[in-house]
């Protein structure tokens, strides 16, 4: 491998990048945009959700329960009702997202250890309804435990681990970094070789001494540098804008991110060589990287909750491994070496993709 040829190829790619404002904007603005979009837009928790209360018990215990809901940052008791009709009407109009109905015998049954409260929810937004239910369960169960005698009236399921403040962005932001890198890495590299093929220049490059190793390295180098720059921006935003604690080692995060970036870039390069034109390559890259990174990486949806078949599919998604590793480094302060199975899977993917790219580049007629 000759350094001069790799440098020539890399320099040429830099020029393409710098002189194509659209690509450059995509590379530089998209990560920030995605980070802020997902960091702020996707929320897996609630705050000051407006609810109503219908207290039919008119008892001290009923008022205490209302006060608990009101004091919680998750809820804001905005309406109090005297009858069911008013409550249902408010729910229907969307004035409140849910309502707590305290039955007339609440106080008596509480003393007997078997009180039940009713929670009415607006099911139009299923996710919000689920969140309201979880928070209510937690609140009511905590109150029951404090009173000692009463058994838990509702089953509560702990949802968030290693996220003491229960803020979903702490879990989301490290995942967004995976998404950003998957999209940028694969999308940009998916265009680069296809562009060469579209211009008809690959045919001419074949008659130069350029080897396929030099070709691939020269092609990917500028995008790797920009991808790592994106990582730096995303990490800085995560720590300083979103207050995500970086509990693990920064060099290890850089190392793991570099490995992941290489994997997605090779994925993009392979797509580029297979597609042969930029439009098709970019479409395949989006479908092959963005969607799996978003849906199947465990970034938003827990892999364990997916159907078994889909769970197997996630093993072929590089972002799955990187989401696990980045969350582990950010939130748990774990070393990727401890998660050697996950790191190893990413490394294996790198080797497989490297081989596939090499074979495909040979089929395209590149020497070496």
């Amino acid at each position: 491998m000759k350094r001069q040829r790799v440098a020539a190829m890399a320099r040429k790619e830099w020029w393409h990048l710098l002189r194509d404002p659209r690509s450059l904007a995509l590379m530089l603005l998209m990560p920030t945009m995605l980070l802020f979009l997902f960091g702020y837009a996707i929320r897996l928790d609630i705050s000051e959700a407006p609810i109503g209360v219908l207290d039919l018990s008119h008892s001290a215990a009923g008022r205490e329960l209302q006060a608990r809901f009101d004091a919680s940052s998750a809820f804001a008791v905005t309406r109090r009702f005297d009858h069911h009709a008013g409550l249902r009407a408010a729910l229907q109009r969307g004035e409140i997202w849910g309502a707590l109905v305290i039955p007339a015998d609440y106080s008596r049954r509480l003393q007997q250890g078997g009180a039940v409260v009713q929670l009415l929810l607006d099911g139009v937004d299923a996710n919000t309804a689920r969140l309201l239910r979880n928070y209510s369960e937690l609140l009511v169960t905590t109150l029951a435990r404090e009173r000692g005698g009463g058994r838990p009236m509702l089953t509560v399921e702990e949802r968030v681990f290693y996220n003491e403040t229960r803020e979903s962005r702490l879990a989301i932001v490290p995942g967004v970094i995976a998404l950003v890198m998957a999209v940028i890495g694969a999308l940009m590299t998916s265009l680069t070789i296809a562009r060469e093929m579209e211009l008809g220049n690959l045919v001419m490059l074949r008659t130069t001494p350029l080897t396929r190793g030099e070709f691939l390295l020269g092609k990917l180098l500028p995008y790797f540098v920009l991808g790592m720059l994106d990582l730096a921006v995303a990490t800085a935003a995560a720590v300083w804008v979103f207050d995500v604690p970086l509990r693990g080692s920064l060099p290890e995060l850089v190392l793991v991110s570099g490995l992941f970036l290489l994997v997605v870039m090779l994925q993009g390069a392979l797509i580029s060589m297979l597609a042969g034109n930029q439009l098709l390559a970019s479409q395949i890259a989006l479908v092959q990287t963005f969607l799996p990174a978003f849906l199947l990486s465990g970034f938003v949806f827990a892999i364990d909750n997916m159907p078994l078949l889909l769970q197997y599919v996630t093993y072929a998604v590089p972002a799955r491994y990187f989401v696990t590793l980045s969350k582990a480094i950010f939130l748990k302060g774990l070393s990727p070496l401890l998660l050697w199975g996950v790191s190893g899977a990413l490394l294996l993917m790198l080797l497989v993709l490297l081989r596939l790219c090499h074979v495909k580049a040979r089929r395209l007629g590149l020497g070496g």
Partner: protein
């Protein structure tokens, strides 16, 4: 290494098939140093395929491609040959100098050597003033000259050009050929694929590729001569209207219009005076004069003959 007398480009009995019937059948071509060999053929005749075999990008089912005395697949041959494929688009967002520098680097030229060579190529192509202009903003003719310059940056001894002047205006084409003649004078062997008869006439030798075979090859003058046939031009008012009558004249093989005249091939031995006499009866103002045939007239006539015979 090959024999000292071996042509720099030697294609022997090349046979190639994409899987849907033979594209090339036993094609043999030799191009010596300082020679431009015109590979003349219609679209789809197999010219590009033959060139790709010649530069080692396709493997023939039979035959051998040798360049600079070695099989084209031999390692280390790249700097000695240059290939300018059809539709080669350079890098439009790179400047003229950057395009040249890129290819100089790929060929491993030292910085000072590359700078000198780029300067020289810019001068030869008349593009000194456009060194910093983006390739995408060049005219079609200049773009092709730049493509040729990129191919020349490694100072190749064998060049393969695939219809390089397609879509280029006549003035730019002329400038391109001046440049190419300079390259020939330096002793470079050039295999030039074209569908253009004008361009074929500029080559030192021409091979007519048709139906996967080289039907005839030789100098343009040799190819223009047809045994037992003579070429005449008929001029005068009303010549266009007289075409059908001309076709019925004794000894006339083929008639075709050209501008305000008609060109006709006569069998040797057909009395010229008799034809002239009959011509006067068709239209008294028409004049008949013998013409030296060019490659265009001959090739068009041969193609028409074969088309008529169904071969």
């Amino acid at each position: 290494m090959g024999h000292p007398d071996e042509p720099l480009i030697l294609l022997s009995r090349i046979t190639f098939d994409y899987g849907s019937g033979p594209v090339l059948e036993g094609v043999g071509i030799g191009v010596a140093a300082g020679e431009i060999y015109g590979l003349l053929g219609a679209d789809g005749a197999g010219k590009s395929t033959l060139l790709r075999i010649a530069v080692g990008q396709l493997q023939p089912q039979a035959g051998e491609a040798r360049v600079l005395g070695r099989p084209v697949t031999a390692p280390g041959l790249a700097p000695g040959l240059a290939y300018m494929p059809q539709g080669f688009g350079l890098y439009p967002d790179l400047s003229v100098e950057e395009n040249l520098a890129f290819f100089a680097d790929l060929h491993g030229l030292a910085a000072d050597v590359a700078a000198t060579r780029i300067r020289d190529l810019l001068q030869r192509t008349g593009m000194q003033r456009f060194g910093r202009r983006r390739a995408g903003r060049l005219s079609g003719g200049m773009m092709q000259k730049l493509a040729l310059a990129c191919a020349l940056v490694s100072e190749p001894r064998a060049m393969f050009l695939d219809e390089p002047t397609t879509g280029v205006d006549p003035v730019s084409r002329r400038a391109f050929w001046q440049l190419l003649n300079g390259v020939r004078a330096e002793g470079v062997a050039i295999l030039y694929a074209t569908a253009n008869l004008d361009e074929a006439e500029r080559c030192d030798r021409v091979g007519l590729l048709e139906g996967g075979r080289i039907r005839r090859q030789g100098t343009p003058d040799q190819l223009a001569r047809v045994e037992g046939r003579r070429l005449f031009t008929v001029t005068g008012p009303g010549v266009r209207q007289a075409l059908a009558a001309l076709r019925r004249l004794p000894g006339v093989e083929w008639v075709f219009p050209r501008g305000r005249a008609a060109v006709l091939w006569l069998r040797d031995g057909s009395g010229t005076e008799a034809v002239r006499h009959r011509l006067q009866r068709i239209a008294p103002a028409l004049r008949l004069r013998e013409t030296v045939p060019g490659l265009q007239e001959t090739v068009l006539w041969e193609l028409a003959q074969r088309s008529r015979d169904g071969s």
